[in-house]
Symmetry: C2
Subunit: 547 residues, 2 copies
C-alpha cells in the first residue's frame, strides 16, 4: 500500500494572515511560510496571532525545511517563534526575503543559530521526497516566488501571494511560461491565493501609482509624507523616483522601514542615490517643498509614526498646514476604523490627506477574479485548494474554479487544520487536527486562551466589582462593612447610592450565619448581579473575596 | 444692530451618524434630525451614542420645533431621549417617517405625550422666524425630505440624506425643479450630505438591485434569506416583488422589521398582498424553494436574527445546506469585521452567501461626487457647509465645492459644536460650544464618560489585579498574607509562580511599618506594576485595597 501525501493547512485558510502549510509524505514534512495575523477587534489586548503548529511538535525529526515565499509579515512573522521550537529547521528564501528575515532574526537574537539558504526563482531544491521548483510571482514586494512541488503522488503548485502584473515596478512579471509548462506536465493540485476572490476584473498594475504620485508631487506646495508598509520595497522605490524627478530629498522614518530599506539597498533591490536621502532631523531646516518623508503607520497602529504624528506625539514630525500626506496602502480588514481615525486627525491638523479612492495611490498586491481564472487555466490542475483568505474568499474562489470547469468534487475548501490527503489516485479531506489561534501578548506565547479573553471581554464591556468580606470564623457573621471596589462599571463619584445599596444587599445575604463560605460566595455573587442589572441594565464581573 | 443667524451642528459633522442641527435666530431655535450612532470599536460596552444637546438645556423656551427628514436611526434614534428632556417640543415629519417614529415613541412609552404633526414634500411650515419648505429627496427609504429654510438672514437649504436616483423604487425622484427654483431665488447657504464624498461617479439606482435579485431568485434551489436594515422599506418591497414573480411566500423575522413593516403597510408605503405573507413558523413546513425570509442583522450585531442564526442560536431559523443568503446592505464603517464574521459563519453552516461585490444586492443611499456637484450647481449657494460625514468626507466635499467655483473662503468645514454665524452680510465660524459624545450604556444616559471608558480599555487589554491587605492599626505591619485577585491578566492556573512572587513583592514593601496607608497603597501599586511588566510585558490595572 502506497504512502499518502498529506497537505495540511496550518494557517491562512479561514482568515487573512498567519499563512502556513505543511506537506507530509511518510516521515517527511516540508513547510511553506510562517506568518502572523493582526488580532480581531474583540481579541482584547492581543499583540498578534501565530499559527498553531502543535501537530509538528513530536515530529521534529520529520522536518526537512521551510520555504518562505516572500518577505511580508503574514508569511514571515511567525518564523522566529517557530525557530525557537525547531532551531535546526533549514530555512529557504530568495535573496531579498532572506534579508528581511535576517532583520527579524537579529531582533530575536537567533540569527547566528539559524540555518539559512538562499534560493532563486527558476531554481530547484530537493527536500526529502519533495522536489521543488521556484517560479517568479509579481506581488507588492520584490523577489516573491511560488513553488512547484513534485511529490511521489504528483505535482502540486503553490502560488504564494501573486498578481498578474504585466508592468511591475521591478520589471519581473509572474512566470507565465513556467506555469504553462507545469500545466503541460500535468498538475495534481493547485493551491492559489484567494485574498481578492470577491473582486471582479483585474487588479491594476503597481505602475498606475506612478501617475498618481506624479500628479501629487506636481501639485503639492509643502512637504509630502508618504505612508506605506515597511516591507513595501517597490513602493519606496516609486516614491524615490518621484522625489528625484521633482527635485525633493527623501527621509525615512520608522525603525522597521529604516532597517528594511538598509537591507534592500545592500542587496540591490532599492536604487537610492546617496544625494537623495537625508536624515529626518535635517528635513526641519529644509524648504517644505523640497522634502518627502517616507514612513509607516497606514494601518493606524497607535505606536506607529503616522498615528503618533496625527495626535501631535511624534518627536520629529509635526504635521502642519500645507503638508500633503499620502496613505499608500489599504486598511487590512478590521483596521478600517483606526485607519480612518488617523486620516481624520491628520486633516484636523491641517494636512491634506490622499487615499484610495480619493486618488489611486495604492493598488492591491493580490490577483482579482480574472487573474485567478487565468492562473487556474494556465495550470489546469486536477484538484484545487483555494488558500489565503477567509472562508468567504475561499468559497468565491471555488465558484471561479467551477466556472472554468474543475469538477466540483475536486475542489477542496478547507479551513486550518483539515488535511487534504492524496492516496492511490483518490483525494479526500482527512480528520481535523487539533489546533487554533496562538496568541502573543506581551512576552507570553500561547498562554492566553479563550478563558482570559472572555474575562477581558466582560471587563471591557461592563467592568468589575470586587466585594471583600471578613467573616467571623466562629459565628459566621461578617465583621465590618463589606468593602466594595469597582472600575469600568459606573462613574464612582456619581454612584454612591448604587454602591451603598450594594453593600446592603451583601449584608442581607450574610445575615444567615449558617452558610458555608462557598455558599456565601455564590449567593453574594448572584444577589449583586441581579441588583446591578436591575439598577443599571449592565452585567459587570462580580468577584466576592472572603478573607 | 441686526440679529445673527446661527447654524449649530450638534451631531453628524465629524462622524457618520447621530445627525442633528440647530438653527438659531434671536430667541428662536429650530432643529433638524436627532439620530444615534454606533459606538466605535474602542468605546467598550457602549450601546450607542446620541448628540450632546447641553447647549439647548437652558433654552427650552426658545425651541420652536424639530423636523425629522427621514426615518433612519441616524436621524430619528435620539428623539426619544430628546423628548424626555423637552416633552413639549413639537415634532414634524412626513407620513412614513412619523409612523416609524411612533413605533419608537411607543417603545419608550412617550407616544401619548408627544406633539406630532405630519408634513409633506412640497408643503410649508412656519416656526417662529423660520419659514420652511419641504422638498422630496430620493434616499434608501421612502418619504425623505430636504428643507429650504427662509430666515431673516436669507435662504438656507438642507438636503437631508439624498441621492439623485432617476428610477427610485417608489417612483419619486429628488425634486430637481424645487432645487433649481431655490437656486434662482438665491441661496445664502447649502448644507449637503457628504457621506459618499470620496466616491467618484454616480451612485447606482436602487433599481439595479432588481436585476440582481431576479438572477438570485431564478437560480436559488432552496430557501432565500434576505437581510437588510429594518427601516429599508423600499428593499422589502423589492424582495416582495421578486418573491411574487418567482412564486415564493415571504416571512419576516426580527421585531423591529415586523413593527416597521406593519406601520409602512398601514400607511400605504408597502404593497404586500395578503397571500404573500406567511408566518415564520409556517415556513418550516413549506418546500424550501417556495420560501423567502426577510430579516435584519446585516451589521453582524450579536443579538440580531442573522448573527444568531450564524451560530445556530436562533430558535426558528436553522441555516441549512442549500440556503441562499443575501446581505442586502453595506457594513457601516467600523462594523466590517463583525459583518464578515457573520458571512463566514453562514458559509460554515453550508449556506451560499451573496454580498456586494459578489453580486450587486445593495447600493448606497447617498449621492456620490457627480451628484454632489449637481446639487451644488442646482442650488448655487453663496456659502457651503458640508454635513453628514467624518472630517475626511467633509474635506472631500469641500474640494468638490471649490471645483464648481464656490469661493474657498465661503466653504465652512466645521465639526460638531462649531456654530456658523451669518451677520450683516458676513459669515464666520463662532466659538466652539461645549459638548461631545453622550453614551448610552444599559439604562444609563450620559453617565459613562472618558474616565470609565479608559478604565474599560485598560481592563479589556490586560485585566486587573486587586491585592487586599490588612494592616495592624497599631504596629503598621500587615496581618496575614496579602490576598491577590486577578482576572483577564494571566491564566491563573498556570501563573502560580508569578502570583506568589507578587505576594512577596507586596510583603517586602510593607516591611516598613512607618508608612502611611496612602504611601503603602502607592508603593504597592508601583512595585507590582514594575514586577508584572518585567515578568510579562503587560500592564494590568493594579488596585491595592487596605482594610
Amino acid at each position: 500500500m502506497a504512502t499518502p501525501l498529506r497537505i495540511i493547512p496550518l494557517g491562512g485558510l479561514g482568515e487573512v494572515g498567519k499563512n502556513m502549510t505543511a506537506f507530509e509524505y511518510g516521515k517527511n514534512i516540508m513547510l511553506i511560510d510562517c506568518g502572523i495575523m493582526f488580532p480581531e477587534n474583540d481579541m482584547l489586548g492581543i499583540d498578534f496571532i501565530i499559527p498553531d503548529w502543535q501537530y509538528l511538535r513530536d515530529k521534529s525529526d520529520w522536518l526537512r525545511g521551510i520555504v518562505i515565499t516572500h518577505g511580508h509579515e503574514d508569511h514571515t512573522g511567525g518564523l522566529p517563534y517557530l525557530l525557537k521550537e525547531f532551531p535546526d529547521l533549514p530555512v529557504f528564501a530568495t535573496k531579498l526575503t532572506r534579508g528581511l528575515i535576517e532583520v527579524k532574526l537579529k531582533n530575536h537574537k537567533i540569527m547566528e543559530t539559524t540555518r539559512l539558504t538562499t534560493i532563486e526563482a527558476g531554481g530547484r531544491l530537493d527536500l526529502g521526497p519533495f522536489s521543488l521548483e521556484f517560479f517568479r510571482v509579481a506581488h507588492s514586494i520584490p523577489d516573491g516566488v511560488g513553488v512547484g512541488i513534485t511529490t511521489p503522488a504528483g505535482l502540486v503548485v503553490h502560488t504564494g501571494d501573486f498578481k498578474f502584473d504585466h508592468t511591475p515596478v521591478d520589471g519581473k512579471p509572474t512566470d507565465f511560461a513556467k506555469l504553462a509548462e507545469f500545466g503541460g506536465r500535468g498538475v495534481l493540485a493547485l493551491m492559489s491565493d484567494s485574498t481578492n476572490a470577491d473582486q471582479p476584473g483585474t487588479t491594476p498594475s503597481e505602475r498606475v501609482i506612478d501617475a498618481a504620485f506624479a500628479q501629487v508631487f506636481r501639485e503639492a506646495k509643502g512637504r509630502i509624507i508618504v505612508g506605506t508598509f515597511a516591507s513595501l520595497i517597490s513602493r519606496i522605490q516609486q516614491v524615490a523616483n518621484a522625489a528625484m524627478r521633482n527635485n525633493r530629498k527623501m527621509a525615512i522614518a520608522g525603525t522597521s522601514m529604516v532597517e528594511n530599506v538598509k537591507m534592500a539597498q545592500k542587496l540591490g533591490y532599492l536604487d537610492l542615490p546617496n544625494d537623495l536621502i537625508v536624515r529626518l532631523e535635517d528635513t526641519k531646516k529644509m524648504a517644505p517643498d523640497r522634502v518627502v518623508i517616507m514612513t509607516t503607520g497606514t494601518q493606524g497602529e497607535p505606536s506607529s509614526v503616522l498615528a503618533r504624528a496625527s495626535v501631535g506625539a511624534h518627536p520629529q514630525i509635526q504635521i502642519e498646514r500645507g503638508d500633503t500626506i499620502i496613505m499608500s496602502s489599504h486598511p487590512i480588514p478590521g483596521n478600517e476604523e483606526m485607519v480612518h481615525r488617523t486620516i481624520n486627525r491628520l486633516f484636523q491638523r491641517g494636512a491634506n490627506v490622499l487615499y484610495d479612492p480619493i486618488a489611486q495611490v495604492h493598488v492591491s498586491g493580490h490577483a482579482s477574479q480574472e487573474e485567478q481564472k487565468l492562473m487556474l487555466n494556465l495550470v489546469r490542475p486536477e484538484y484545487f485548494i483555494p488558500v489565503h483568505g477567509e472562508l468567504r474568499h475561499l468559497r468565491a474562489h471555488e465558484r471561479l474554479a467551477h466556472q472554468i470547469g474543475i469538477l466540483p468534487q475536486n475542489v477542496f475548501v478547507v479551513e486550518d487544520g483539515y488535511p487534504v490527503e492524496f492516496h492511490e489516485g483518490e483525494a479526500r479531506i482527512g480528520e481535523r487536527l487539533p489546533g487554533g489561534h496562538v496568541y502573543i501578548d506581551g512576552s507570553g506565547v500561547g498562554e492566553i486562551g479563550p478563558a482570559v479573553l472572555r474575562d477581558r471581554e466582560i471587563l471591557g464591556r461592563d467592568g468589575f466589582v470586587v466585594v471583600t468580606l471578613r467573616r467571623d470564623p466562629e459565628r459566621g457573621l461578617i465583621i465590618d462593612k463589606p468593602e466594595i471596589t469597582t472600575r469600568g462599571f459606573v462613574y464612582v463619584q456619581e454612584a454612591e447610592e448604587l454602591l451603598n445599596g450594594a453593600g446592603d444587599v451583601v449584608t442581607r445575604v450574610c445575615e444567615d450565619s449558617s452558610l458555608s463560605d462557598r455558599a456565601v460566595h455564590d449567593k453574594v455573587q448572584e444577589a449583586l448581579a441581579s441588583y446591578f442589572y436591575r439598577e443599571t441594565k449592565r452585567r459587570p464581573m462580580i468577584i466576592p473575596v472572603l478573607l
